[in-house]
């Protein structure tokens, strides 16, 4: 069973980050929220593995203060 990758895995991270921001450019807050939700569902389906999805949900949670 694969683990959630937390080491850097994206080639050219600055380019990816720019793509992400560009995708939201010109969108209203509501449109951006909808875009993000679609993106999360698309990526989640691509991952598929429930173990990794659970680990990702846990990783995304804000650390307890």
């Amino acid at each position: 069973m694969a683990d959630l990758k937390t080491a850097p895995n994206i080639a050219a991270p600055d380019d990816f980050y720019a793509d992400l921001l560009a995708a939201h450019e010109g969108l209203t807050k509501a449109e951006s929220d909808a875009f993000n939700a679609r993106l999360i569902l698309i990526l989640s389906n691509h991952v598929g593995d429930r173990e990794i999805l659970r680990a990702a949900l846990a990783a995304a949670a804000a650390p307890k203060k």
Binding site: D33, A34, A37, R38, I40, L41, I42, N45
Partner: protein
């Protein structure tokens, strides 16, 4: 919670079917006693009565009404309940009258995002679902009860008999019943409460009914119209004619259509039910040129809750009285029929002294498992249909948007997960799974799937007693343990021209012996017959292990 108004012409539900008549029980000093009293002559009470009467258990059904249900109410019946009705001798009229459907369409905003076909598996006698008004469903059950009466079976329906008090006495139940001729009392060894979600019996006994109420109201309207809509289930999220809400259109027999419109929380129910308010809503949905007539209108609130225990001494709760779910999944009446299917054979064995009283505790175990499964599925559907936070609506709409372009998103769209029968995994009645390579769908605890058998069907040969299903295996005609027998049903590959039976019951095995319960659930299975193993499983399956 369920408020109804009459809006249409005369229907079967306006005709008294079991009118009040005075009985000898009402004579002074009668001290009437009955082995089993059932309270409530709805679908579940009638099914329980028929099941018990078929086994020659004398049963009296009390209902303060004398007619079938008012309005369509439950309309969608799944394959498993239809199979149970076959065992009860009244599956045919239901399926002959019902509307069979397989195609569903999902709309979002102004467009259709996708459609689906249930693609029911071949080789089953009964379809995946039929739509049928509850009043027809009850009518056919009442007719079956009368047929049993004519055959001399001990079944009695008493309309106009309202239970006003009930006392569980440890070894039986005492009842007071009000009638047009005044009150009378009776006692019973067992009482089965099938008196609906608002169960007066439950209230009289001061029992809990805990769960979750969803803050939303739905208008149900049954309309009669000559429309050329296809026989499909159409579900709308956020349509132009009901902005921000959902809607459902589904066909029933006799040109009656079920329409559900989500209304939101802060509404005046009495106002919304008035035809002058309902009709404009329907015109907005159907278009101005569609001629229709309102048959029945109701407003309900989604809720998912159940009793902590369904068994309270000699009082047993079944159907909506024990558990309630939101609709949109065909889980209400359908799960109630699985309750009585589970309960009646156990009660019979206990009454006959062949099984210990503790067998009835497994009714709780198995049917609470079923109720929890239904509540889980129903709650999830409701959370999808009526998102209660901004972010849940954002994700809901994202799934709907994506479902138009991408297959992957369609399984995320939840407009009601349609009922499938419960597998009693982990039940104390389950024996060994000794069939190496056997299919998972027929593991101990599972309901038997149907399969063609020559030119007939397997399930028509199963039920009402313990059975040994032998496929290409040697078994004796009957095996008995302490008065409980299992009789053999022998099948060879030659009886299985389609291969469905082998696929569903053998898998990779070359022979199989199944011990089956009277409710057509698998108790245990092996590759070959072993008398000691079968007897041990028979004891386990009847709570005597």
């Amino acid at each position: 919670m369920d408020q109804t108004v009459e809006t249409g012409g005369r229907k079967i539900f306006e005709t008294p079917l079991y009118p009040y008549g005075r009985t000898p029980d009402q004579e002074p000093g009668a001290n009437a006693h009955h082995p089993v009293v059932i309270v409530g002559a709805g679908p579940i009470g009638l099914a329980a009565a028929i099941d018990l009467a078929q086994m020659d258990v004398p049963v009296v059904v009390l209902d303060d009404n004398d007619k079938v249900s008012w309005g369509s109410r439950a309309i969608c019946f799944a394959k498993r309940p239809l199979e149970i009705l076959d065992r009860l001798g009244c599956g045919d009229p239901m399926v002959d009258k019902g509307v069979v459907w397989n195609v569903g369409k999902v709309f979002f905003d102004e467009r259709q995002v996708y459609d689906f076909n249930l693609l029911p598996e071949k080789g089953h006698k009964r379809p995946a679902f039929i739509n049928l008004q509850q009043y027809y469903f009850e009518q056919y059950l009442v007719e079956r009860a009368f047929e049993l009466q004519r055959q001399g079976k001990p079944i009695e329906l008493r309309g106009g008999n309202k239970v006003v008090s009930v006392t569980e006495k440890g070894d039986g139940v005492a009842l007071s019943v009000d009638t047009p001729d005044g009150p009378y009392t009776m006692s019973a060894d067992w009482l089965i409460a099938c008196d609906g979600a608002g169960s007066p019996i439950r209230a009289m006994m001061g029992l809990d009914f805990v769960g979750r109420v969803f803050e939303d109201n739905f208008l149900i309207a049954d309309v009669v119209m000559d429309a050329d809509f296809p026989t499909e289930r159409w579900f709308w999220f956020d349509p132009p004619f009901n902005r921000g809400q959902s809607a459902l259109l589904h066909k029933q027999p006799d040109g009656v259509w079920r329409i559900d419109l989500q209304l939101g929380w802060n509404i005046d129910k009495d106002e919304e039910k008035k035809p002058e308010n309902v009709i404009p809503r329907l015109k907005a949905m159907l278009g101005d040129d569609v001629k229709f007539e309102l048959e029945w209108v109701s407003i309900y609130t989604f809720q998912c809750r159940r009793m902590e225990k369904f068994r309270h001494g000699h009082v047993l709760f079944a159907g909506d009285a024990a558990h309630q779910v939101s609709p949109f999944g065909a889980r209400g009446a359908n799960s109630g029929l699985q309750d009585t299917d589970n309960l009646c054979w156990k009660l019979k064995l206990v009454m006959d002294g062949l099984a210990p009283d503790s067998l009835l505790e497994t009714y709780d175990v198995e049917r609470i498992h079923g109720a929890d499964e239904n509540i889980l599925n129903s709650s999830r559907s409701t959370d999808f249909i009526t998102p209660k936070s901004e972010i849940s609506r954002i994700f809901r709409d994202a799934a709907l948007d994506l479902s138009e372009r991408f297959d992957f998103a369609r399984p995320l769209v939840n407009s009601g997960r349609l009922s499938v029968p419960c597998v009693y995994d982990g039940s104390p009645l389950n024996g060994p799974d000794g069939l190496a390579g056997g299919p998972a769908r027929t593991r101990p605890g599972a309901p038997c799937p149907d399969a063609p058998l020559g030119d007939a069907y397997l399930l028509d040969r199963l039920g009402d007693e313990f059975q040994l299903l032998a496929i290409d295996a040697d078994v004796p005609d009957s095996v008995e343990d302490c008065g409980i027998a299992a009789s053999a049903l022998r099948i060879s590959s030659a009886d299985d021209p389609t291969g469905d039976l082998a696929a569903r019951y053998l898998g990779d095995a070359t022979s199989a012996v199944y011990l089956l319960r009277p409710d057509q659930h698998v108790a245990a299975r092996w590759t070959d017959y072993d008398e000691a193993a079968v007897k041990a499983a028979l004891r386990t399956a009847t709570g005597r292990a």
